[in-house]
């Protein structure tokens, strides 16, 4: 048996165990170890849907970095601003979709403005770009505090998103023999679906379109791309708009699932950082893998060892760095 086959067998076994864990009715001893099947499956589902949200934020972050070598540490601020704008638009017009749309568009514009007026002037100067983006995030956090104060907001989702989904997963069997099926909030499933659609869309855009070709060429050799007649600045502005817009979009979507409050900017900045460090800079697939790992670690940690959940995330990051400093899908530099 070759090593490849051995790994294949291993992953098949893992998949079988997970499938059994999800679909089988648990014996009592397993319930005793893992609290309850409901808690376990919910943690997994929460992890996956949270990963969807993390992916939305981190994909913008990694996209911007991938092309422009521009670490935008104000990315968390973009998320929070998007959330606030989504809240304002939704609560004033009553249309949630309009709020989501506004979150994307406004933040895309903000992104273009930042790119043109700030980062374009500091091209190729990593450290200053980082410092400037930190400065922007400080000012932005303070100004957002001035406008929206320190309270917590919740973006109301429309009724058609509010229900719960009954999944074909049996959590327990009642004494009369009837099965209890797991119900799960529809909204979170929709978030996950949106993340998957956007992820696939981004992947297609990067790998199958002309713009994507330019972006990938820009990642590898910016000067050559420019020399071959492409308006690099325009490409940069587009990428920044998409990346920032995704952060704003994620802000509205995330603010509807969780809540909007000061401090969320740092939380999502950290999430994006860890996700792209683990997944590999500039890779959409890496962002998806990283988001999945971190989302699952966070939620499973929350259920089984609440205090050390954050440490689990951290351990994943350190182990990844120790084995592959460039991240799981990152290119060796």
């Amino acid at each position: 048996m070759t090593g490849r086959q051995a790994w294949g067998l291993f992953w098949l076994l893992v998949a079988a165990v997970i499938a059994w864990l999800v679909f089988a009715v648990w014996p009592d001893w397993l319930n005793a170890i893992l609290i309850s099947k409901k808690a376990f499956v919910s943690a997994i589902l929460n992890g996956i849907t949270l990963a969807g949200l993390y992916f939305l934020v981190a994909s913008g972050f990694t996209l911007i970095f991938g092309l422009m070598r521009n670490v935008n540490l104000a990315h968390g601020s973009l998320y929070l601003l998007g959330a606030y704008i989504g809240y304002e638009v939704t609560s004033r017009t009553g249309y949630w979709l309009l709020g989501v749309f506004a979150g994307f568009v406004v933040l895309a514009l903000v992104g273009v403005v930042m790119q043109v007026f700030v980062f374009r002037r500091l091209e190729g100067d990593d450290l200053r770009q980082t410092l400037v983006s930190i400065g922007i995030s400080i000012v932005a956090a303070d100004l957002m505090l001035a406008v929206w104060a320190g309270g917590t907001y919740q973006i109301t989702t429309p009724e058609w998103l509010d229900g719960a989904l009954t999944l074909p997963v049996i959590t327990a069997v009642r004494s009369n023999g009837a099965s209890v099926f797991l119900t799960y909030p529809l909204y979170r499933v929709v978030v996950l679906a949106a993340a998957i659609v956007i992820g696939v869309g981004l992947w297609l855009m990067l790998n199958k379109t002309r713009v994507g070709m330019m972006i990938r060429a820009g990642v590898d050799d910016r000067a050559m791309l420019s020399a071959s007649g492409v308006n690099v600045h325009a490409v940069f502005a587009i990428v920044f708009a998409v990346g920032a817009g995704l952060a704003g979009f994620a802000g509205v979507v995330g603010g509807s699932a969780l809540s909007v409050a000061p401090g969320e900017d740092v939380r999502y900045l950290l999430a994006s950082l860890v996700v792209v460090i683990v997944g590999g800079m500039g890779s959409i697939t890496g962002a998806a893998i990283g988001a999945l790992l971190i989302g699952l670690a966070e939620q499973i940690g929350l259920v089984y060892f609440p205090t050390y959940g954050i440490v689990l995330t951290f351990v994943i990051m350190v182990v990844t760095l120790a084995v592959r400093p460039q991240g799981i899908m990152g290119k060796a530099r």
Partner: protein, 342 residues
């Protein structure tokens, strides 16, 4: 990163007074005499606080200026020393507090901080430039959240309170004047050590590694070991600053090591300038003065906006901070200070 420092010109033998330089002597006299004119408020809240944050900035300057590694985890290292003091010494939070005497607790706290710093360095030295910033930021944030959630060691959200600076040799080091001199003494010690260290073989090697790691590796230097050792040294300075910080505040909580504080340290070092060890202290004075008095200028709420704006302007105008600005205004002076300083 463009933090190159011109090489020392072969200076003729000077006596120690000349070696010290007029600038240093004037500065030392001013700092020693400062308590004669300053009120208690200016002595601790401005003087002591600036010196503590200057030391934190200095530990970052050591890594960034000489090693080319920009760290956002210096406040984390300081926080580890601060927590160690709270846990090993006395606190009134009714949790842990082993009651060790200061002469045992302080070295232990600084050692713990230095080892933690070396560990952070060991994790992050495999990466370069921007990656180091991101990884140290991730480490700092993770530590913050961990401290906030952990009640067994860190006492969660509330942290530790009621930590007092020791009284020995008949001096209560908590009083404004002794505390100021304590801060000044340790700051000068760290400053001199960094200045001396930067001219030592190790310092030179570190700077060479910053400029061309590949060549140094080819020459047979253990690049990783040198960088991790620099982290260890920076950890000692940050640890000392952490001990002073916990004595200054009398308490330590997750807020002390939060992201805001981590960024404050970076702002201080960058505003001051990373070319010379005096930079972080300059930056600390400016930032502490701004934090204290911006409230009077822009109202109680928006002083972060002001500080952020000043930071942005300085980064935009002069990548080398106040030292760089000064260098532009007075080119000759800058030449002199670089020659005598680097």
């Amino acid at each position: 990163m463009s933090l190159t420092i011109p090489a020392d010109s072969a200076a003729p033998q000077k006596n120690w007074l000349e070696k010290l330089g007029a600038g240093h002597i004037i500065l030392a006299v001013v700092l020693v005499l400062y308590p004669l004119v300053a009120s208690d408020f200016f002595l601790t809240q401005i003087g002591g606080y600036s010196l503590i944050f200057g030391m934190l900035g200095l530990s970052l300057m050591l890594l960034a200026g000489y090693g080319g590694m920009v760290s956002l985890a210096q406040i984390t290292v300081a926080g580890i020393a601060a927590y160690a003091i709270a846990i090993l010494g006395n606190n009134n939070s009714n949790i842990l507090g082993f009651g060790w005497p200061w002469w045992l607790a302080v070295p232990f706290a600084v050692l713990t901080a230095a080892l933690a710093s070396a560990l952070i360095g060991w994790i992050s030295v495999r990466t370069e430039g921007i990656y180091t910033i991101m990884i140290t930021l991730a480490i700092a944030t993770a530590t913050y959240y961990f401290a906030q959630q952990n009640y067994a060691i860190f006492n969660g959200h509330s942290g530790y309170a009621g930590i007092r600076a020791p009284a020995f040799w008949g001096v209560n080091w908590r009083d404004p004047r002794p505390f100021y001199y304590l801060c000044l003494g340790l700051a000068v010690l760290s400053y001199a050590a960094v200045l001396y260290g930067s001219r030592s073989t190790f310092g030179m090697t570190l700077q060479a590694i910053r400029d061309n790691p590949r060549r140094m590796r080819a020459l047979g230097y253990h690049v990783t070991a040198h960088k991790v050792f620099a982290w260890l040294l920076a950890g000692v300075i940050a640890g000392l600053a952490g001990v002073l910080l916990v004595w200054f505040n009398g308490r330590v909580s997750p807020g002390t090591i939060g992201v805001d504080a981590a960024i404050d340290v970076l702002i201080i070092a960058v505003i001051g300038g990373l070319r010379h060890p005096i930079g972080p202290f300059l930056g600390a004075v400016v930032v502490v003065l701004m934090q204290t008095f911006a409230i009077d200028i822009v109202g109680a709420e928006r002083f972060n906006t002001l500080i952020g704006m000043v930071f942005l302007v300085i980064v935009f105008v002069s990548p080398d901070g106040i030292l760089g600005l000064w260098g532009r205004i007075k080119p000759q002076f800058a030449q002199e200070s670089l020659r005598s300083g680097s």
